[in-house]
Amino acid sequence: MKVSVAVNGAARTDEVEPRLLLVHYLRDVVGLTGTNIGCDTSSCGACTVHVDGESVKSCTMLAVQADGAEITTIEGLASGGELHPMQEAFRQHHGLQCGYCTPGMVMAATSLLAENPSPTEAEVREGLEGNLCRCTGYHNIVKAVLAAAGAGR
């Protein structure tokens, strides 16, 4: 089947197996391996990307279901050699250790702030509950997201 999408602003069309998951399409066909895979039950959020501006776990969607969509992956976030403010906040607050959950966490966090620009700590914690991190205990992730929200105000 054919799928036509714009990934990080670049339009493309590919022939794919109907059962191909979006995350595998992005990683194996498009070659953007920044989006990670951490589970097979849509539980961990490591694969979070934006589809038409909404945060989506890309392992829960088939590539063909994204036909016509605009997709943003972690590779599309930084621009002009500068980290995106959320990436910068994660760096400033040590919101990552091994970095494996990080691309998904950053994508989830940016869409959380898009929906709620001034969240409370509890709202950040609720908002990120679909993204697991085994390294940080979330303390510094939450701090980073709150700081990014503060900076954006």
Binding site: R27, T33, T41, F90, P103, R125, R134, H139
Partner: protein
């Protein structure tokens, strides 16, 4: 405090942002699964769905008709590939029993997840289809999942061993003295605790990629491993490839926590299949697979007894352990209980001590090191049972600890178990933790809630811990029968432009070694941390190394880096003295330059010395060119970090739901290279201990079927289930290394689980509840409350 970019010199102790982050934040970093090599065959392992069975037949031929499948092999097909079984490096006793463990089972499967066949295909999807097509017939056998049942030998899992008991290990310096102490005790208390099995759950599952060069016979193996160096040696022995023909690289690795401290079947298989097929082989673990095929942690049943005098001063500790090895012994499986064996007296001054451990095989996934490995278990036992002692004596939790602490002036302290603790100030950490947690206000609120019969009760739990880390003095390892050393290697070299290259034998997977090692070197050389490059995790670049586990990297590997740096400075000094025509004694090295004492204008910056060393146009006679030095540092002792954690919980007595209201941790890991990184380790560590206390358990049914095979069943906590933490530290340098550092990677996990359970028991003490099994799920807590209330009702 906020993070800053450091100025050159005086870098140690700054909250320097990590060098590692930009690549990880942008998706630029490459994990094993990101390294797709054209022409690679994807491997899928066919695993046993049953816990214990004879294999009647394995038919891989149906897989061969799946489009894309290139080859498929049974365990028997590959039997000839192995030069040896998968390794266990820690035969803790001379008569320890260890079954032969091949990468694929041939006659019997011994746990659900045991591999029986492998399918190779041109894509991951095709390989999975092929795996599904393989037909295996099993003749099921009764399964052993209970440790007492295992010990009874009702069913012997490994026929050739004749028993399920792998070993009995004892540490009883003076049994008569222990017995006498118990006979004379004013108080004795006994705790019986179950350390449930845990699934380590690094968010990156395992993966391996082997690229062969078939004609020159060499292999490059990429693995999501903590131990590229140990892996190389062990794979050479297992697969029969010369060590010189294997290069192991650990690329970006997404967390380990001990689960990637191993030599796994899939790594051996990928290497053997790359040899056999003469093509690159790639295997990426799925999460469901990880819940069975990756080692699990804990799995111990503990009995601890304390004898004490009338004031509650502990006079003896006696411990008996029953440990679950799982189906086979993996790399250090049998050693895990030993890492805790010396620590059941905790932070207390205990005159006599006895410990024994019986370890048994079961039909479950093998256990092995998981964050803390043996030490969280030991800390849990002593920090739980001391609460019983406090109650028996009639003093509070803080007071019983104060009465028994090893005092600051007693260090270095020789423990009854035979260790020498380097340094400590236990009471100071307790005081600080109590102060930060606002103990007085909490007790008042607790009293109010008790008084008013509030549905939500408040509980406060204390845990004072110490641990031994920095694995390890090689001679101590020898005395424990470990088959390798515990040193670490480092090389430091100055490049012609004055930049610095550091090669380390440690292998980070989230700990930030590139940042911390740069800081150590920058601090000593007076250069900027950004001028230091740290190379690691590639056996071709760092030929010597013993890798990363056991909170060893800084206190062994970082110290090696410091020693090598000082050696470079010593050589540079000789060159500078020659160039400046001055005696070496008259030179001092400060702020990155060699300067004549008293005549500051006679000076030579380190960069200029490096260039002179490189051109070698004018070196002292007999001195070789270039500035490079190595160190292979074997630590004289472990390091002993410590601290006190205070956990405050709210327990809903109607639903059994436990919520963490606050968590305060005061940790002492000696001198801190980068407090930002230290805090991160503490946060993550606490969370894994909290997870054991409240959420996580690898569950098996009575037939050995795993019930927690996804992240929907195995409850790794999310942000919404946790509070922010309050952390602080005290600094008691270790006198046993030149940086004064101790480890911090495991301390949080070691201290936290008992703090949480102590808090729950404190909340429920008025109901007469003084123990709570882990994980303290709402159902379990609710049941205990209902039972206690039922008892109360009966009694009244």
């Amino acid at each position: 405090m906020t993070a800053t970019q450091a100025a050159p010199g005086g870098v140690l102790g700054q909250r320097l942002l990590r060098k590692e982050d930009p690549a990880l934040l942008t998706g630029e970093a490459q994990f094993v699964a990101d390294l797709n090599v054209p022409g690679a065959l994807h491997a899928v392992i066919v695993r046993s769905p049953v816990a214990h069975a004879r294999i009647l037949s394995v038919d891989v031929s149906p897989a061969m008709s799946v489009p894309g499948v290139v080859a498929a092999f049974t365990g028997k097909d590959l039997e000839g590939e192995w030069a040896g079984p998968l390794p266990c490096a820690w035969p803790v006793t001379p008569d320890m029993k260890s079954p032969a463990h091949l990468p694929l089972a041939t006659d019997k499967v011994c746990y659900a997840g045991d591999g029986v066949a492998v399918v190779l295909a041109t894509s991951e999807y095709a390989a999975r289809d092929g795996g599904d097509a393989v037909a295996v017939e099993y003749d099921p056998l009764p399964a052993v999942v209970d440790l007492d049942d295992a010990r009874s030998d009702r069913v012997v899992i490994h026929d050739e061993l004749g028993t399920n008991t792998s070993y009995v290990w004892e540490l009883t310096p003076d049994q008569a003295a222990v017995d006498a102490a118990f006979a004379d005790a004013a108080h004795t208390v006994h705790g019986h605790y179950v350390q449930q099995r845990l699934i380590p759950s690094a968010i990156e599952p395992r993966g391996v990629l082997v690229i062969p060069q078939p004609f020159n016979g060499e292999y490059t193996l990429y693995s999501a491993t903590q131990i590229p160096h140990i892996l190389k040696v062990m794979l050479a022995l297992t697969v029969g490839v010369p060590e010189t023909a294997i290069r192991v690289i650990a690329p970006a690795v997404g967390g380990g926590f001990g689960s990637k401290l191993n030599v796994y079947a899939e790594e051996a298989l990928a290497l053997a299949l790359a040899r056999k097929m003469r093509r690159p082989i790639r295997w990426i673990e799925t999460r469901s697979e990880a819940t069975q095929a990756t080692i699990q942690g804990r799995g111990q049943i503990q009995d601890i007894e304390l004898a004490a005098d009338a004031e509650g001063r502990i006079t003896a500790v006696r411990v008996k352990l029953l440990a679950d090895m799982g189906a086979y012994l993996q790399l250090v499986t049998p050693g895990v209980p030993l890492l805790g064996a010396f620590l059941y007296s905790g932070v207390y001054d205990v005159p006599v001590y006895s410990f024994s451990c019986t370890s048994v095989f079961t039909n479950m996934t093998p256990t092995d090191a998981y964050r803390g490995a043996g030490r969280p278990e030991a800390t849990y036992a002593i920090e739980r049972v001391i609460e019983d002692l406090a109650r028996a004596v009639g003093v509070d939790s803080a007071e019983i600890r104060r009465r028994n602490f090893i005092k600051a002036e007693q260090f270095p302290y020789s423990s009854a178990a035979g260790l020498v603790y380097d340094s400590g100030a236990y009471e100071q950490a307790l005081d600080r933790a109590l102060e930060l947690s606002g103990m007085d206000g909490l007790r008042a609120e607790q009293a109010r809630r008790r008084e008013s019969g509030d549905r939500v009760q408040l509980g406060i739990g204390i845990s004072s811990y110490m641990e031994m880390c920095g694995l390890a003095p090689s001679r101590v390892l020898a005395s424990l029968n470990y088959t390798a050393g515990g040193w670490e290697a480092a090389t430091v070299r100055l490049l012609p432009t004055g930049k610095v290259q550091v090669v380390t034998g440690t292998s980070p997977h989230g700990q930030g070694h590139e940042t911390s090692w740069s800081m150590i070197v920058a601090d000593r050389l007076g250069v900027g941390p950004e001028d230091v490059e740290v190379l690691h995790s590639d056996t071709a670049i760092a030929p010597y190394g013993l890798d990363t586990y056991g909170s060893r990297s800084l206190s062994v590997g970082g110290v090696a880096v410091a020693i090598a740096t000082d050696r470079v400075i010593a050589k540079a000094k000789a060159i500078a003295a020659h160039q400046l025509e001055i005696a070496e004694e008259d030179l001092e090295f400060r702020d990155g330059a060699f300067t004549a004492k008293g005549t500051p204008e006679r000076s030579m910056p380190l960069g200029a010395v490096a260039f002179e060393a490189f051109t070698a146009h004018n070196l002292p006679d007999g001195l070789e060119p270039n500035l490079e030095a190595s160190s292979h540092f074997d630590p004289p002792n472990f390091t002993f970090p410590f601290g006190t954690h205070v956990c405050v919980v709210e327990v809903d007595t109607e639903t059994g739901l436990v919520s963490l209201r606050s968590y305060t941790a005061v940790d002492d890991c000696g001198v801190q290279v980068n407090p930002l990184i230290v805090e991160g380790q503490v946060h993550g560590g606490i969370t894994q201990g909290v997870a054991q206390a409240l959420f996580e358990e690898a569950v098996y049914d009575e037939d050995g079927n795993p019930k927690t095979t996804t992240l929907m069943d195995y409850l790794v906590p999310a942000a919404s289930e946790l509070p922010s933490y309050v952390t602080d530290s005290t600094v008691t340098p270790s006198p046993t290394n030149l940086l004064g550092v101790k480890g911090i990677g495991e301390a949080g996990t070691i201290g936290s689980a008992p703090a949480v359970i102590n808090a729950i028991c404190d909340a429920l003490a008025p109901l007469g509840i003084h123990d709570m099994a882990m994980p303290a799920t709402p159902e379990r807590v609710w049941r205990s409350i209902s039972e206690a209330r039922g008892e109360e009702a009966k009694g009244s």
